[in-house]
Symmetry: C2
Subunit: 321 residues, 2 copies
DNA sequence: AAACTGTTTTTTCACGATAAAAGACATTAT
DNA sequence: ATAATGTCTTTTATCGTGAAAAAACAGTTT
């Protein structure tokens, strides 16, 4: 104990941002710009500025910056309301992917890589300054990330001092799944009790279709399951109408996200099994028979827990990327 | 909706800190100094610097700053190892209480005052800059506070934009207590199943004594219950051995803390009833009869929920201080 | 009038800088 | 040899600052 978590553990990573005294990256603009380019393919002229704003989820200020650049690069002709598309976007019109990430995303990825790439034993200290330097960002962003991240239960703060890594251990996985099972069983029961005319039933039908679709093309699309899985479980959790239950799914989603990324062993088989369990689970929900729902939910959660556990060796040893 | 949460709602509050370009207050030192003064009453000479450090929970650097000042003010004679007490501390030796608070505490108090003092309707926007100005602190501290506070489920962030107040509503109280009941029932069952030689049983005995003591002097000490309540429930939650359950008690503790502060109606009666329920609950735990534990736990949680709910009017109207 | 565009103000986000506090190292005393 | 003290270095906590993005305001166009 007492050893540092990030002491020159990685290659001297090229700074994520341009090094010099930069205040704030314009990733919001770049990401929205890229998404707007994709929109360009479909229409002859763009809608009004406020409409574009809601469509892209950004302010009108950002929309105008996007339009200005599109005019500059000859993608559109822009005169007040008229925004006519002049040409199709080329690959080099897009901003590079890595420039569209949030700082929070950059930090999280970097942090999780270190965490899972081995050598990150429970009890290690986390050094804000060192982390910031290695990732190439300011300390404030790292601090804020760590505070946000702390709710996942993997790190803990010593007052007026460093953070302590608790480790991605078997114990962690068991505590996490214990809560998950408690919450999901309750949510599933609440779901089944929802009135027939509730919108969730059509959502469920749609998800069922997607599951069947994916099952039929499992050989090629098995890696798309992870995203479908999250949407399915979030739908169920939402039926609890409890913000703490709904929010807790963020913890689960985060863990499974990185788990999927790092543990590709038998991915196809695992996902195929999970799809089958989901379909049984969906059928149980549709039957509105609480006993069946409970059984189907339990069965799926049990195998989900098993999958997670087998990926965590008893004594922490590095997982290979 | 859309109205601001803290638009000049309060008196132009004297800045919490000294206004000018101050980097960091020395509240850690001041608080430790005060605590060290109390220590002075009991001994003729102080222990070694490292020992003092662990005793006060601060670094040796801070210990030495404390000793230096104690020497200056003639409280002790300090020469290397020898730290002899020269006189008893006087009231004016102490730093004023308000200077010993963490910035986080200052911000939280200020924020909760506004939240509970009325006029804080669900859907309102929270403005970091405005909050920071009104409290008299930097924006960074406010940001960090809001991030930390967000796990209580009372506020929510709009990406790249403001925070939204969800309101201290009946729905919130119900969602909170739902989880609390789930967690505590499980923890209580785990507690009762703990082996006889576990240290928790002596902890429980001690708490039982404190309850009886408090019950016998309820007329004068009823306001001390809140603190005892927290210690009791934390002991039980710890038996779950689940970090998410243990951590969730922070949410409950925070809510009940402010609830107790703002709703003094029938405080004595409420606490008297609660002590009785606790004693029954403790007896049930000691019996190790899961049925009895479940019943006693349910009964107490039900009345706790009722207490919380009655303090929240159906439609949010200000609570008087 | 409603909805849009043009312009200005405010707020958020992220940085570097600095004092407080922690921690590490070197020295000395038991 | 251990454990303290004395000194120096590193890290954390907090602020002010400036660019990005949002929001508000004002003027046009349909």
């Amino acid at each position: 104990m007492g050893t540092s978590y990030c002491a020159s553990s990685q290659q001297p990573q090229a700074t994520a941002c341009n090094g010099s005294g930069m205040s704030k990256s314009n990733n919001v603009y770049k990401d929205a710009y890229n998404r707007c380019l994709r929109l360009l393919d479909e229409t002859r002229s763009l809608p009004s500025e406020p409409e574009l704003g809601t469509l892209l989820g950004v302010s009108r200020t950002t929309v105008r910056t996007i339009l200005a650049r599109m005019e500059e690069t000859g993608l559109i002709a822009w005169n007040k309301r008229a925004k006519t598309v002049l040409r199709e976007p080329r690959p080099d019109d897009f901003f590079p992917e890595e420039e569209t990430d949030t700082l929070a995303e950059i930090i999280e990825r970097s942090f999780m890589r270190r965490l899972l790439a081995g050598g990150a034993e429970a009890g290690m200290q986390i050094n804000e300054l060192e982390l910031a330097r290695e990732i190439g960002v300011g300390t404030t962003s790292v601090r804020e990330f760590l505070i946000r991240f702390s709710r996942f239960g993997l790190i803990e703060k010593r007052r007026n001092s460093h953070w302590v890594l608790k480790g991605f251990t078997r114990a962690f996985a068991l505590e996490l799944t214990e809560i998950r099972e408690m919450f999901e069983l309750r949510s599933a029961a609440a779901f089944a009790a929802l009135p027939q005319d509730s919108a969730v039933w059509t959502d469920l039908d749609r998800l069922e279709d997607e599951h069947r679709q994916l099952a039929s093309e499992i050989a090629t699309r098995f890696n798309e399951f992870s995203e479908l899985d999250e949407r399915f479980h979030r739908l169920i959790h939402r039926a609890s109408h409890n913000r703490f239950i709904v929010d807790f799914y963020d913890v689960i989603a985060m863990i499974f996200h990185y788990h999927y990324q790092w543990n590709k062993a038998q991915e196809r088989e695992r996902n195929e099994v999970a799809i089958g369990e989901h379909l049984a689970y969906i059928a149980a929900l549709k039957s509105r028979d609480l006993g069946k729902v409970d059984a189907a939910c339990r069965k799926h959660l049990k195998s989900a827990r098993q999958t997670l556990l087998t990926s965590i060796p008893e004594s922490r040893s590095p997982l290979k990327p």
